[in-house]
Amino acid sequence: MRSEQKVKITLSWLGLIIALSFFLYPFCWMLMMSFKSVEHIFAWSILLFRPTFDNYRKLLLDALFLRSFYNTIIISGVALLISIPIGTLAGYSLARMPSNISKLLGFWILTTVMFPPIVMVIPFYLLMQKWHLLGTKQGLIFVYISMNLPLIVWLMKGFVAEIPSEIEEAALVDGCSRLRAFFSIVIPLARPGLITASLLCLIVSTNQFLFPLILGGADARTIPVAVVRFVGGYSTEWGPACAASSLAILPVLSYAFLARKYLVRGMTLGAVRG
């Protein structure tokens, strides 16, 4: 038994390393390009070059670029902070309420994400113009919230449905209010789901390109828009673009790093699941 376990674990690690190499390869490639100066980017030999920090130096001294980091964190963060409670409550109620209505409402919530962004932009533009929200952080926050909600609702609906309702029922019988049961019982049990949902929403929001491009202004310039500045119609400044992209992953990566413990609580129970 011991050695069989060992073989399995070695094979699993092998599989994992292969998968990781696949997922990280382009990023490593991009990272490598960010340290190259212009002559080396199109050179024949791919691996031999003298690394330079020039690209990064240019970026970190660029106030506009730094400002976009600030903007993105505020906009995505606030949108997340607002969407999570609203969405989780909705997901919880959809998971627990009688099924005929929950089907309808759940599906309608889903349809709000089905419109391709390219189509939403013009009406959004006109709407925001009317409400004086163009180019403001609040405007984008509002748009991001509407994008986050369906994902959060459906993810949390799934995670809450896994939690047996007996526990809440018992609490309700003892006189606990539904809301209190939600906060003290359901939330702690659904924590991995909550963190996963928040991470995925953060990723989707910070990577939005079309909406901040058209609906944002100086105050709401987000990272993707700032990064794409280096990509021209005819030529691309590869060095700075790659450096900018590499820096751009830092906010979300830090969040994932800080939240990693909560992402998969109980991983050590691992071997039993097949």
Binding site: K8, A90, I118, V272
Partner: protein
């Protein structure tokens, strides 16, 4: 239906609404209000445009109400059917490959209990700005300067022009999408795996079930709903995909990778037929709804 049955079903409907399940509606209210406000206007506006003969290049033409003729002309275009097939094919390939890889990796991660650093690293493909990562991939696909052909040349295969031929261009896009969004599936499935109750697994192990049996008869069915949600959101995401395809192939060569969203963009912003573009986007919406319904039905996503 007899009168007795009629009365009973009506009674059920009334009691459902009157039952003072007010708390559910209060909990749902903020979500519904936000979504209602933010989506009603664009939807209604696009609907109105789709019924009009709006054309940006001919601003002097009066905007007339032309009913369904935008819809009819769009459906008649050759490009329409091609873009529908492309969209569906893309969704099918990307989601199925993504699920296979995603499930595999999620299981591996779960079994190993591998350091959480692995998870953090897996976030990277999703967080790199799509436009830039598409560009990097485009560079990698370059027949002479790209790293992919460089590696292939080392093992003797030469001269694949990835983005220039219809089939390979399609595959290239699937590859980029799988690369970028499979971690999404991994995260959802992993969180699902973690939340599964451990008792069934322990008792089954005592009975001496093999790993494969555990997986096939216990893990997989229990994960069904999570897999369903992952597939649902991924399918919708792929069918809306725009940036990546635009950067890599602009829908080419020819129409090989022209999906509905690229086609909508071309109709609206290259040919300036805004009315038809709006009509096409409504047709896209209908397609997405149908696909979503199929997925929901298949995985019984309504508890």
């Amino acid at each position: 239906m007899s009168t007795r049955q009629n009365l009973n079903s009506r009674r059920k409907k009334i009691s459902l609404l009157a039952r003072g399940n007010l708390e559910w509606y209060i909990m749902l209210a903020p979500t519904i209000i936000v979504l209602l406000v933010i989506t009603i206007y664009p939807l209604v506006y696009s609907l109105i445009i789709s019924f009009q003969s709006l054309h940006l290049q001919k601003p002097n033409l009066p905007i007339r109400f032309i009913g369904l003729s935008n819809f009819i002309s769009v459906v008649r275009y050759d490009a329409f059917l091609k873009s529908v097939t492309n969209t569906l094919l893309l969704a099918l390939s990307s989601v199925s490959i993504g699920c296979l890889i995603g499930l595999g990796v999620a299981l591996l991660l779960y079994r190993i209990g591998a350091g959480n650093i692995v998870l953090v690293l897996l976030v990277i493909p999703m967080t790199v700005t799509p436009v830039v990562s598409a560009l990097v991939w485009r560079f990698m696909y370059h027949p002479q300067l790209g790293i992919i052909n460089y590696t292939l040349r080392m093992i003797g295969i030469s001269g694949i022009t990835w983005l220039a031929k219809p089939l390979s261009a399609f595959i290239s896009i699937v590859l980029v999408d799988v690369w970028q969004w499979t971690p999404f599936i991994i995260f959802i499935l992993l969180a699902g795996l973690v939340s599964l109750p451990s008792e069934p697994f322990e008792s089954v192990q005592l009975d001496g079930a093999s790993s494969f049996q555990i997986f096939r008869y216990l893990t997989l069915p229990m994960l069904k709903k999570h897999i369903g949600v992952a597939i649902l959101f991924r399918a919708i995401g792929v069918m809306k995909l725009f940036d990546t395809i635009y950067v890599l192939t602009q829908g080419g060569p020819g129409r090989a990778t022209q999906t509905l969203s690229i086609y909508t963009y071309k109709l609206g912003f290259q040919y300036f037929a805004l009315g038809e573009a709006a009509a096409l986007s409504y047709l896209t919406l209908i397609l997405l709804i149908v696909v979503a319904l199929i997925i929901i039905r298949q995985f019984k996503l309504f508890w």
